[in-house]
């Protein structure tokens, strides 16, 4: 679902004029950091980086994935450059771009999936996609193992043992008007795949700060561990982490520890809540990163982050990084740390009331 529930159409965005949420890092004049804070930050940086290292894929994983991806790319190159019309009939490719966590080098250990976006010149029919997949399987299956193919609405998945390569299909912009349901891939998926290209390109600029990759790994793992954070997609996390790292009063990027805390603080301060200025999408300034979240998801994500932040501030970083013996379900359980009870938060958003809110303007419109 790409349509934002809180999106506003055609008008200037009402939240553009809102103040940026309170950000301790930018309010250092009012709240000067103490020595204890700096010491704690150093410690936290060590812990976060250690956790991130544990999340990196092993060398074996990297090597196997690399081999597979290289082969897939060779085939794609062949399709692109071949002059033989019979090689892959009815499919013309424009380009292919590596995207996703494999390209960004933010893969988690055990997550053996690489993504490649294929941009077609011809219309992206399901048959065309399937024929690409079939060709791949034929070409790739050799002595080293059998490659299987599964079609999906975003394209297809090539599988070789444990490794997977997702071929995401996009198309030229001129083709998008002629897309038909049940015949071609849905526009929704195509635009999502296209966005992945922009994200991958944009990420190259992000990676100038070396701390970003460990932090992304840590937050990806946290997102799996605490389901409340799931509504926030990876791209939103990446952008928020990047923002937290580089936006400082001094201009020097933060260390991993304080940036880790800052991301949670920003989420807790409601950067993705309605009525906040929010964070603009780095690849499209017209939209905010939180535009695609529903109100309930915003509430859930924010309250989860708030609880996590309180756990962090009470010295419970092990819980967040998954090193504690038992990971509590923070949405319902009371966490006890150092004799302090950290209670879960209640919902602030109730969908019934929203329906009421919708009715009112309708009434007034009909009156």
């Amino acid at each position: 679902r790409m349509v934002g529930k809180s999106g506003f159409v055609g008008r200037a965005h009402p939240y553009r004029n809102k103040p940026f949420p309170f950000d301790l890092t930018l309010a250092q004049e009012a709240f000067p950091p103490t020595k204890e804070m700096e010491e704690a930050d150093v410690k936290m940086t060590e812990e976060v980086l250690a956790a991130a290292t544990a999340l990196e894929p092993t060398d074996k994983e990297r090597a196997e994935m690399g081999e597979f991806v290289t082969k897939v790319k060779q085939i794609l190159d062949k399709i692109l450059t071949t002059t033989d019309a019979e090689y892959l009939p009815a499919v013309v490719l424009e380009q292919y771009v590596e995207v996703g966590s494999y390209k960004k080098d933010t893969m988690l250990r055990g997550h053996r999936i690489a993504d490649i976006v294929v941009v077609t010149k011809s219309m992206p029919t399901f048959e065309a996609v399937a024929s690409i997949g079939q060709k791949m399987c034929d070409e790739l299956s050799d002595g080293s193992g059998v490659v299987s193919m599964v079609s999906r609405d975003f394209g297809l998945i090539l599988t070789k043992k444990e490794d997977k390569v997702r071929i995401l299909v996009s198309t030229q912009q001129s083709n998008t008007d002629g897309l038909e349901k049940d015949l071609h891939l849905p526009l929704e998926m195509i635009s999502k795949n296209q966005a992945a290209i922009y994200h991958a390109k944009r990420f190259e600029c992000f990676s100038t700060t070396p701390e970003i990759r460990p932090l992304i790994r840590v937050f990806k793992a946290m997102r799996r561990r605490f389901p409340g954070l799931e509504p926030i997609n990876i791209w939103a996390f990446e952008s928020l982490i990047q923002y937290s790292l580089i936006t400082t009063p001094t201009g020097y990027p933060l260390a991993a520890g304080p940036a880790f805390k800052r991301v949670l603080s920003m989420l807790s301060a409601g950067i993705f809540l309605p009525g906040s200025s929010g964070l603009g999408d780095p690849v499209d300034a017209r939209f905010r990163l939180c535009d695609q979240l529903g109100f309930d998801e915003m509430d859930k994500a924010c309250s989860t982050a708030q609880t996590l932040l309180r756990i962090l501030c009470q010295g419970g970083i092990a819980v967040l990084l998954g090193q504690a013996d038992k990971i509590p379900d923070i949405s319902v359980e009371v966490t006890e740390l150092n004799d302090i009870c950290i209670a879960p938060l209640e919902k602030a958003f109730e969908p019934e009331e929203k329906k009421e809110g919708e009715e009112v303007p309708m009434e007034s419109a009909s009156a």
Partner: protein, 880 residues
């Protein structure tokens, strides 16, 4: 400053809060401050913090609403290291002045110790009320006067008098006569006056009404931009824009069109007009009547007439040739007015401006309906409109004169007027008068002082255009826009693949997003202000409080006098035993809420206060208090006296303290055996410093006081927040709001407070909040237990999300307000009105009932949800 102002050099400025408040009150309120109030003795910052209570106009609540804009606009909330209270000297001098201005005898009979820093400040910040320049200033002025005059007599003047060297001008080809040869030049000037007249005439420009010193200058003038422009205007080429809905006034002599009577008056008083007038008189040119020509607004067909004299000049001379001897014999010629495009000849000169206005109105009436072929009714209407406009012109009364302060520079000569409301300066009294009547000033006044003031709408062409465009689009109706989203299914075809705009777009910090003129009140603001109005004490309550406090203050004054006569003075300073009494806490900070039960005062003694002293004080004060049925009890634990008036609230708690206790050598001084509890005395001293800090940092901070009042109410209702002491709350709120860097509306300010707490600033791992009023600057949060911090944080986190999802009423403990009617839908369009009239009666009957029902329903529902919230909070507290 009642004699206690120099007792210890380092601290002399610290304990002057109430005096500062009085000074602020005096400076701001001017006439609105009732004279019977003794602002100086026990200054109460009435006017600055409780405007509603002091000036009676407008509803108490609505006035209070805008109280937060008051402050000291001269001191913007620049975040600075909180090292000390700072700016003490400046404030001390301010209070000094207020006392001087009021001409009151100092409380203590002893004169304040001379302080050089203070004296210089005194001369610099002279308030309006004390006009007489000080001796220093007078001496300086006299000296500078001497210096200015001196060289003029002994050395050649640097500026040649244009008339003085007139003879050389007659020979333009010759070398210019060196000025210094002629010595002072004054004598030459006298000798040359005979020539002056002729030259002036010779090089007189009819169009611009100026005379030039010589051929060359005259030529230059003719080629100049200014002249060209005026010439074009005179020929009717360029059309001068006129205000659309306002009457313009025109000075025929100088060909100047002014948009208001004031501007016209200012022009007439101005030097340029006077010079032109003098010149014209000298040359015998026709001088138009003293009254202005009145031009109808542009929308009624008014145009700028061609200048009278220029027209004739252009006709006779072609405008370019100097008119030698073209003087018109008669000096008084009836002016010819060109109004509204048609010429109207007033045969006799109307001296009376009012009469003239009527004539003009009639003339415009006839002009406006296109040559008189329109019906009588229409004509009358136009006539009425114009006279209404003229009346409006006269009716614009200057407002907020007391917000304009007069400042003098060091030598007391140069006067600057500073408008505190609009934050602008004038060096000219005319400019000040015009500003006071101006629209911008009135808007600021309406916004900050009196919301009931009516400010005329500026005709907004942009808005009209937008409305027209919107209408057109509605009518077209063909274009359906797709929903947003990165590349949503319904997105515009052209914008399917957005260009990779490689930029974050967060609103960076000091962006002026809060434009007070355009700002639309949000739902949060509405709820907060509605709640605030219900919390703010009404006038009667304020008066009652004021009466009670003042009666006690009278008692204190009597007590001070009593000590003065009975106790032997200390050898060193000769200070009074009771140095003064000051208001602290809610009273000085202006955070007094409805139904407040207790307010606090501090009596400051020269010696450590003892039990004996307190007993004696109570007995003595009782003699001076005139209120019937009061009681005074000693609360020894608190080192205070509780003053209660029967059946009245609030009670007043009067702390006894002395600064001796907080001196560096406090341990050395001998303490009486029956000394009151020292920690309480020190606490009272700290409260004094807090009040002072509050005056400096919070009073001028937009939204700060409103948010604090709201939070006081929240902590009254919700137990979790009670743990956060008022002082801690004030510190956090001030830091949170001032860290934005720009003024923010109340809704955003409250939200930002919750945001800050939600990000965990209270925790041990956070930055802490240092106390700016203590020497060791300890962390004020250290008194909170870790579990308290946890509870407050989680509560704030919930509150923040409630606010985000439009449930601020749950935090404020009130019913949800009905959605505001947007101003666009409220305004009726002219065509709709016609249709509505027929059914109006029925519609009116139906509507209110519906609304009432709806409101009741909502109220019940909200109440139940509120109950659940409270339950939840209680449950939470139990589990914790």
């Amino acid at each position: 400053m009642y004699g206690y102002h120099g007792y210890t050099p380092g601290q002399s400025t610290t304990y002057t809060t109430s005096a500062v408040a009085a000074a602020v009150a005096a400076a701001y309120s001017g006439s609105t401050n009732p004279p019977q109030q003794p602002p100086n003795v026990f200054g109460y910052p009435g006017a600055s913090t409780f405007p509603a209570g002091i000036d009676g106009n407008g509803g108490a609540t609505s006035n209070a609403y805008y109280a937060y804009g008051y402050g000291a606009p001269g001191a913007p909330p620049v975040p600075s290291p909180y090292s000390n209270i700072g700016a003490g000297a400046g404030y001390a001098s301010l209070s000094d002045l207020s006392y001087a201005a009021k001409g009151r005898a100092p409380y203590g009979a002893t004169a304040p110790k001379p302080n050089p820093a203070l004296t210089t400040l005194t001369t610099a910040n002279k308030p309006i009320s004390s006009y007489g320049s000080t001796y220093d200033a007078a001496v300086y002025a006299a000296a500078s006067n001497m210096l200015n005059k001196g060289p003029g007599r002994t050395f050649p003047a640097k500026k040649p008098n244009p008339f003085a060297f007139a003879p050389s001008n007659q020979n333009p080809s010759g070398p210019p006569a060196p000025t210094h040869k002629y010595g002072t030049g004054k004598r030459w000037g006298i000798g040359a006056t005979a020539n002056t007249h002729r030259d002036a005439q010779q090089f007189y420009c009819e169009v611009c009404k100026i005379s030039c010193a010589g051929q060359l200058t005259y030529k230059e003038h003719l080629e100049g931009k200014l002249h060209k422009k005026k010439e074009a205007l005179a020929k009717g080429e360029g059309v001068q824009a006129l205000p659309r809905s306002k009457v313009s006034f025109r000075c025929d002599l100088c060909n100047v069109t002014c948009t208001g009577k004031d501007t016209y008056d200012a022009h007439v008083r101005g030097s340029k007009h006077q010079r032109t007038l003098a010149l014209c008189k000298k040359l015998g040119k026709p001088i138009p009547a003293g009254e202005p020509t009145i031009i109808a607004p542009a929308e009624m067909g008014g145009t700028v007439p061609p200048p009278v004299a220029a027209a004739t000049a252009a006709a006779t001379t072609g405008g370019k040739i100097p008119t030698i001897g073209a003087a018109v014999a008669s000096k008084k010629i009836a002016p010819v007015h060109f109004i509204g495009g048609s010429s109207l000849e007033t045969t006799k000169q109307t001296k009376d401006l009012e009469a003239k206005k009527a004539v003009v109105a009639a003339a415009v009436g006839s002009a406006g309906v296109d040559g008189g072929e329109g019906e009588e009714g229409e004509k009358k209407e136009v006539e009425y409109d114009l006279s209404a406009l003229l009346a409006a012109e006269n009716n614009v009364k200057p407002v907020g004169e007391n917000y304009v302060e007069t400042e003098r520079d060091a030598n007391g000569k140069h006067v600057t007027y500073v408008c505190k409301l609009c934050d602008c300066k004038f060096s000219d009294i005319n400019a000040k008068d015009i500003h006071l009547k101006g629209r911008r000033h009135r808007l600021m006044y309406k916004q900050k002082v009196d919301p009931s003031l009516e400010v005329e709408m500026k005709p907004n062409t942009l808005r009209e255009k937008r409305a027209a465009r919107a209408k057109k689009e509605m009518g077209g109706g063909g274009r359906i826009r797709g929903p947003p989203g990165m590349m949503g299914p319904g997105a515009l075809p052209g914008g399917y693949m957005p260009p990779p705009l490689a930029r974050f777009a967060p609103a960076q910090q000091p962006r002026p997003y809060f434009d007070s003129h355009r700002y639309m009140e949000t739902e949060d603001d509405r709820h907060i202000m509605a709640k605030h109005a219900s919390l703010f004490p009404n006038e009667a309550e304020l008066k009652e409080m004021e009466d009670i406090v003042q009666s006690l203050e009278k008692g204190l004054k009597g007590l001070s006098d009593h000590f003065e006569t009975t106790k032997p003075k200390a050898e060193d300073g000769g200070e009074r035993l009771l140095r003064g009494a000051m208001r602290i806490g809610v009273l000085s900070k202006g955070l007094f809420l409805k139904g407040e039960e207790e307010v606090e005062l501090v009596a400051l003694f020269a010696d450590p206060p003892t039990k004996k002293m307190m007993e004696e004080s109570i007995e003595e004060m009782k003699k001076f208090i005139e209120v019937p049925d009061f009681s005074m009890e000693m609360v020894e634990d608190e080192a205070a006296v509780m003053f209660t008036v029967k059946d009245k609230l609030p009670r007043v708690k009067l702390y006894f303290t002395s600064t001796v206790l907080r001196q560096d050598d406090a341990s050395v001084i001998e303490k009486p055996t029956d000394i009151l509890r020292e920690e309480k005395c020190l606490h009272a001293l700290a409260e004094l410093r807090h009040s002072k800090w509050f005056q400096v940092r919070c009073t001028g901070l937009q939204s700060c006081q409103v948010v604090l009042r709201i939070l006081r109410d929240v902590s009254r209702r919700i137990g979790t927040y009670k743990k956060l002491s008022p002082w801690t709350m004030e510190l956090i709120v001030e830091k949170v709001i001032s860290s934005v860097g720009v003024p923010i509306p109340v809704g955003d300010a409250l939200r930002r407070f919750f945001e800050a707490i939600a990000t965990g600033i209270l925790f041990e791992s956070g930055p802490g909040v240092s106390d700016p009023c203590e020497r060791d600057a300890g962390n004020v949060l250290s008194v909170l237990s870790p579990q308290d911090k946890e509870n407050i944080t989680s509560s704030a986190q919930h509150a923040l999300r409630l606010m985000a999802f439009g449930k601020i009423h749950k935090i404020l403990g009130m019913d949800k307000l009905a959605p505001a009617v947007s101003p666009t839908s409220e305004r009726k369009r002219p065509r709709e009105e016609e249709n509505c009239e027929a059914t109006d009666g029925d519609a009116k009957k139906d509507k209110p009932d519906d609304e009432v029902e709806k409101k009741e329903g909502e109220g019940e529902e909200e109440k139940t949800s509120e109950d659940t919230v409270e339950k939840v909070v209680n449950v939470k507290m139990e589990t914790n």
